[in-house]
């Protein structure tokens, strides 16, 4: 076995103890530092991303309550299209467990002004149905002019 290992090229031969290689240690340290900086950047970017998103989603919920005149707690809010500032917010049209009543969904866009966003359209959903295009009805505004409501 040892004879076989001795035939390997020098950089591939096993060693009992490591020989100090300062250049290698420096390169490793530089790679580790670069990785740490990258991870720190992505983490801080994510905090900014999350905080910004949370602010917009709270404005979406406020807008839904203001527009429908219903001060319900359980109002969903989420992005309709990723990387575009268009959100959709849904909640019951009458008191009940989330999703157990007819849902009113609103599409919102633009920046939050006075904690409210601009409503550009919307639709309704029957109780206990998911927010899929086939389930949407009574669509209005931008929802009608786009392919969001195939059933009108």
């Amino acid at each position: 076995m040892n004879e076989l290992l001795a035939k390997l090229p020098p950089w591939l031969r096993p060693r009992e103890r490591e020989v100090e290689n300062r250049l290698l240690a420096r390169i490793e340290s530089a790679v580790l530092l670069a990785a740490a900086v990258l991870l720190a950047v992505v983490a801080f970017n994510d905090i900014f991303w999350t905080v910004q998103d949370a602010g917009v989603l709270v404005a979406d919920q406020q807008t839904w309550r203001h527009y429908t005149g219903r001060d319900y707690f359980n109002v969903s809010a989420g992005r309709l299209v990723f990387n575009e500032p268009v959100d959709v917010s849904c909640a019951n049209s009458s008191p009940g467990r989330p999703g157990a009543r007819t849902q009113i969904c609103l599409i919102m866009s633009g920046p939050a002004v006075g904690e409210l966003r601009h409503v550009i359209g919307g639709w309704r959903l029957a109780p206990h149905t998911g927010d899929f295009a086939r389930n949407r009805y009574a669509c209005f505004g931008a929802a009608r002019t786009t392919r969001l409501c195939p059933n009108g």
Partner: protein
């Protein structure tokens, strides 16, 4: 001349007085930092005992005697406590590192033990995994194969409602050793099962700390610093022990294997036993298997290979005899979890930086390639004489950084190994990763929570 002599006579006394003063100051500061950590842990436990919150999963009132003392554990309580605790921990570890001998061994053991007991006494924190594990134990005891069926197969089990909806249909991703160790939790009521797993977590944590101490002493490192770095780490206490995660059992096997391998006199029996113990840990959580190539590359002898193969064959034979072929595929759990994406993961955060909504299959492939390259490089370094224990810890850190399913307790894996190796970059890197993770966790503090 005479004044110079007088000055020279006085200076040593003055110097030792200064040292005494600064020694007392350092000891006082260490005590203060330890108090901050104990108070932080106590606050989290007492507030968590007030019931359900984003940090406290829904659970039966098995520890109701703690209720009524704290306030509900919201983001506003938990996240500042986590930040302060992590800062205090970093300062205490730095102090213990700069001033060896400052902390008395008995004091350090009492402090770390107090932290572990506080977390043991409280409710289950920050994850529902413990309830899932009690459910798997009840399945196994009731003749339902936990490697085929998720907790949904036993909906009559009282703890079913406390299992996360995400996991109710998932068969156990853990190895046969873990399932066997947790079986007693399936023989008793839900509350009894929770206490059994919490007690097991406490014993495993004690084993991890004792073995860390032992390995540090054998390898010529300060054991006091070693147990402070591991046992006072907030991600170890609040998250890993707070949720009684099986990573504690995996780490206990990992360190038991290392203790056998670094102990003297070195012998083939020790090498075989050490490798077998590491395999037993991999039969808790397959991730630990990452240590074996480094061990084998370092020793270059038959004994560890034989020990590992014998342990694996025994473990898989027991698994097959008890639960059939689905219990034998130890990498299935890793494969399934590897396909998931957690918002905690650096991969997910990187995708946001690149303007993507999440991690795509191509990203999974690229991350796997990056991990394989890192492990291959570490293996080559180990072959060329680098410390296999340090290489194993780097490997675990690489897994934590590249996985798309990162959980905070995964960042704890390399910690006990980092304090028993000479490569100080390893401990620094582990703590930097943890610090970045902790800071990322605090985002709810800076904006509204929808």
């Amino acid at each position: 001349m005479s004044s110079a002599t007088a000055s020279a006579d006085v200076e040593p006394e003055h110097g030792s007085l200064e040292r005494l003063r600064s020694g007392r100051l350092a000891a006082g500061l260490a005590a203060l930092l330890a108090l901050v950590l104990v108070a932080g842990a106590a606050e989290v436990v007492l507030d968590a005992a007030e019931g359900f919150s984003p940090m406290v999963p829904a659970q039966p009132a098995f520890d109701s005697w703690l209720a009524g003392i704290g306030t509900r554990l919201g983001y506003d309580q938990f996240l500042p406590t986590l930040l302060i605790s992590f800062a205090a921990y970093g300062a205490l570890a730095a102090l213990a590192h700069r001033r060896p001998g400052l902390l008395h061994a008995g004091w350090a053991v009492a402090f770390v033990a107090a932290l572990q007991l506080i977390l043991f006494a409280g409710p289950v924190l920050l994850a529902t995994d413990l309830f899932t594990n009690v459910a798997y134990a009840h399945e196994a005891v009731n003749g339902i194969n936990p490697y085929v069926h998720g907790p949904a197969a036993l909906p009559t089990f009282a703890g079913y409602h406390f299992v996360s909806p995400d996991w109710v249909r998932w068969p156990s991703p853990y190895g046969v050793v873990f399932t066997l160790v947790t079986l007693p939790a399936g023989l008793v009521s839900l509350d009894g099962g929770i206490w059994i797993l919490k007690l097991e977590g406490l014993i495993e944590s004690a084993a991890v700390l004792w073995l860390t101490w032992r390995c540090a002493r054998v390898r010529g490192f300060d054991p006091v610093l070693a147990i402070i770095v591991v046992g006072a780490n907030p991600l170890y206490t609040l998250y890993t022990l707070g949720g009684s995660h099986n990573d504690l059992l995996m780490m206990a096997f990992m360190l038991a294997g290392v203790a056998l391998l670094v102990g003297s006199p070195a012998s083939a029996g020790r090498e075989a036993g050490g490798a077998a113990t590491i395999v037993a840990g991999a039969l808790v959580k397959a991730t630990l298997g990452v240590m074996l190539p480094f061990l084998i590359a370092s020793k270059r002898r038959l004994a560890p290979i034989l020990g590992a193969v014998a342990a694996l064959a025994t473990g898989l034979a027991v698994a097959y005899a008890l639960w059939g072929s689905s219990a034998v595929n130890i990498f299935e759990g890793l494969r399934r979890e590897g396909a998931l994406v957690s918002s905690y993961s650096f991969a997910s955060q990187l995708s946001h930086l690149l303007g993507k909504p999440g991690v795509y299959p191509i990203d999974h492939t690229l991350l796997t390639i990056a991990l394989v390259v890192a492990l291959a490089y570490l293996l080559w370094r180990t072959w060329r004489g680098y410390d296999w224990i340090a290489a194993s810890a780097w490997g675990m850190l690489a897994i934590a950084v590249t996985t798309t399913w990162l959980m905070p307790w995964y960042t704890v894996w390399p910690l006990p190994l980092a304090v028993i190796t000479r490569d100080r970059r390893l401990l620094t890197a582990t703590l930097v990763i943890q610090a970045i993770w902790v800071i990322h966790q605090t985002s709810p503090l800076y904006g509204p929570v929808p």
